[in-house]
């Protein structure tokens, strides 16, 4: 399998702060790669750097063999990278429908089909279709955010803590949906819910202090008590 996405010694500054200090990892096509690490380790910043929202100051980000670290965000997104941000990024004043409309890149049958699938996945969205996004409950916002990323045909999805605020049953649904998409869409997942991460993840990277410090297959991680304790605080 080839690397769909590759980060090589990426460093990122925000203002005068040096946040990422050497992030390197590869994402294989068709896999779910999980980024782990404690609060403030730099997981979100890593995803934002890939999206070009906090451009890398050093190192390279390669997507499908092309360096994208210097491109503007919208170009990166257009290349087929979807993003579910940590804070959901709902347009509070727009209705659910309008939120989706803004997200849709191409209006075609494919999209329509995916839309049906999404509404089946999250029936709540259909219920609040004409309501402003700002009125949604925390979990519903999370669903909408995920839905917006699902609606386009993306080769790569960056998902930042999807399970946050979701009821267990919905978490399950999201996991299922990710597994369903796996063949067309590669996924980079930041997740604190270890159950979820370990169930659907194929490969993991641990980020600490802005550096990738460990990596391996999910199986290895599950078995490595030492590593789990040290970096993830799970005993």
């Amino acid at each position: 399998m080839s690397d769909l996405l590759k980060l090589d010694q990426v460093e990122t500054h925000i203002g005068q702060y040096h946040i990422l200090q050497g992030i390197s990892f590869e994402v294989k096509k068709g896999e779910v790669t999980v980024l782990l690490g404690r609060n403030g380790a730099g997981k979100t910043t890593t995803l934002r750097t890939i999206m070009g929202l906090n451009p890398a100051s050093k190192g390279s980000v390669t997507f499908k063999g092309e360096q994208i670290q210097a491109l503007p965000t919208y170009t990166i997104a257009k290349k087929g990278i979807g993003y579910v941000p940590e804070d959901q990024g709902i347009f509070a004043g727009l209705t659910v429908e309008e939120n989706m409309k803004v997200a849709i890149q191409k209006e075609n049958e494919e999209t329509a089909k995916r839309m049906d699938w999404i509404l089946e996945l999250f029936p709540d969205l259909k219920k609040f279709w004409k309501k402003p996004g700002g009125y949604l409950s925390g979990g519903q916002k999370q669903m909408l955010s995920i839905a917006r990323a699902y609606v386009n045909e993306n080769e790569l999805l960056l998902i930042d803590e999807p399970s946050k605020g979701l009821a267990p049953i919905v978490v399950e649904k999201v996991m299922e949906s990710i597994l369903q998409m796996k063949n067309q869409t590669t996924i980079v997942l930041v997740e604190q819910n270890f159950m979820m991460a370990s169930t659907i993840g194929d490969r993991f990277y641990i980020i600490d202090d802005g550096r990738t410090v460990r990596s391996g297959t999910m199986k290895q991680l599950k078995e490595d008590e030492e590593m789990k304790r040290k970096y993830l605080g799970i005993a």
């Binding site: 005068q16 040096h18 600490d208 202090d209 410090v213």
Partner: protein, 332 residues
């Protein structure tokens, strides 16, 4: 750390103030003193505005309202009665009462409104004051305005210079203390997140009204000084231009800094003086207003947080951040 800086700033201001107090003994360009007096007056006005925009996060387009009340109070008292200190104090008193009352009512009426709507409502209220001043001609002589005499004490412009200077420093110190008081801190919290301030147990409207009243009264005092310095008042004291002046001075200096308001007032008045002087020497400066406009644009480009705001965040905070973590580091 910010605070130490703040204290340094205060000390610096006091030194400058001392220098300015002594200045008339060694130097006597009355024109300069008139210019400086003007700066002090507008600095007071701009500081009062800063309390709203910089500390409480309220943008008002009607601040001229209070300025005008002050200016007309003194003018009418001096014209209709006697230009004596007694009436002067009565005028000051009535300014305080009127501006306090008006800002209280305006606050009650308007402060529940959100940003733009609030700004426009204040604009309309001050517009109504303008119309009132225009229409109440027996009192105000309409937009031609009227001149009046001032008490003995203020006739000498050097005296008046000192008075304005002292008042400016006093008001600066007062506002500094006010904004740093527990109450002032709550104002800043309101600026940041009104709803959260509420749920912390602070009665937001009370605070906003307090800020509005303090700001209104101080603006009224600035209006008094302004009218005395001109010995003339007309409807222009209620005009949008006056509000814009306060706005510009505050923003150029840097909102939420107080000193910025003073610096902004100084910068605008000096630039104005300088550019109009240039206009007499070079033809291209005949349209000096263009250069004035360009100054505004450049300030935004090079001092995005205003002059004081930008300078005070730039050179001091050179801290190299290395993702300070107290947790034990793990070797790769």
């Amino acid at each position: 750390m910010r605070l130490i800086q703040g204290n340094k700033m205060t000390a610096f201001i006091l030194v400058i103030a001392a220098f300015l107090i002594l200045l008339p003994f060694v130097y006597e360009s009355r024109n300069l003193f008139i210019l400086l007096t003007q700066i002090f007056v507008f600095a007071i006005f701009a500081m009062s505005y800063d309390l709203l925009i910089g500390f409480t996060g309220i943008v008002s387009f009607g601040h001229a309202m209070f300025f005008g009340i002050g200016a007309y109070s003194i003018g009418i008292f001096m014209k209709k009665f006697e230009p004596t200190m007694t009436y002067f104090f009565l005028a000051v008193l009535s300014t305080i009462v009127l501006t306090g009352l008006v800002s209280f009512i305006v606050g009650l009426l308007t402060l529940r409104l959100k940003n733009h709507f609030y700004a426009m409502l204040t604009l309309s209220l001050s517009g109504l004051f303008l119309v009132l001043a225009e229409k109440w001609r027996s009192m105000t002589y309409g937009n031609d305005g009227f001149t009046f005499r001032v008490p003995e004490l203020f006739i000498d412009r050097t005296h008046f210079y000192w008075l304005s200077l002292c008042l400016m420093v006093a008001i600066f110190l007062f506002l500094k203390r006010f904004t740093n008081s527990p109450l002032g801190r709550v104002l800043q919290a309101i600026r940041e997140n009104e709803q959260r301030t509420e749920s912390l147990g602070f009665q937001v409207l009370h605070y906003k009204i307090a800020a509005s009243v303090v700001s209104g009264v101080i603006a009224g005092i600035a209006g008094i000084l302004y009218a005395i310095s001109l010995r003339f008042v007309n409807t222009s004291v209620f005009s949008m231009d006056i509000t814009l002046d306060a706005l510009l001075m505050t923003i150029i200096g840097g909102v939420g800094t107080l000193v910025g308001a003073i610096i902004g007032a100084g910068l605008i008045e000096f630039a104005h003086d300088w550019l109009t002087a240039l206009a007499k020497e070079h033809v291209i400066f005949e349209r000096w207003i263009i250069f004035f406009g360009i100054i505004y644009i450049l300030v935004v480009m090079f001092f995005p947080k205003g002059i004081v705001g930008t300078l005070s965040t730039y050179p001091w905070k050179r801290k190299k951040q290395t993702a300070v973590k107290s947790k034990e580091k793990v070797a790769g």
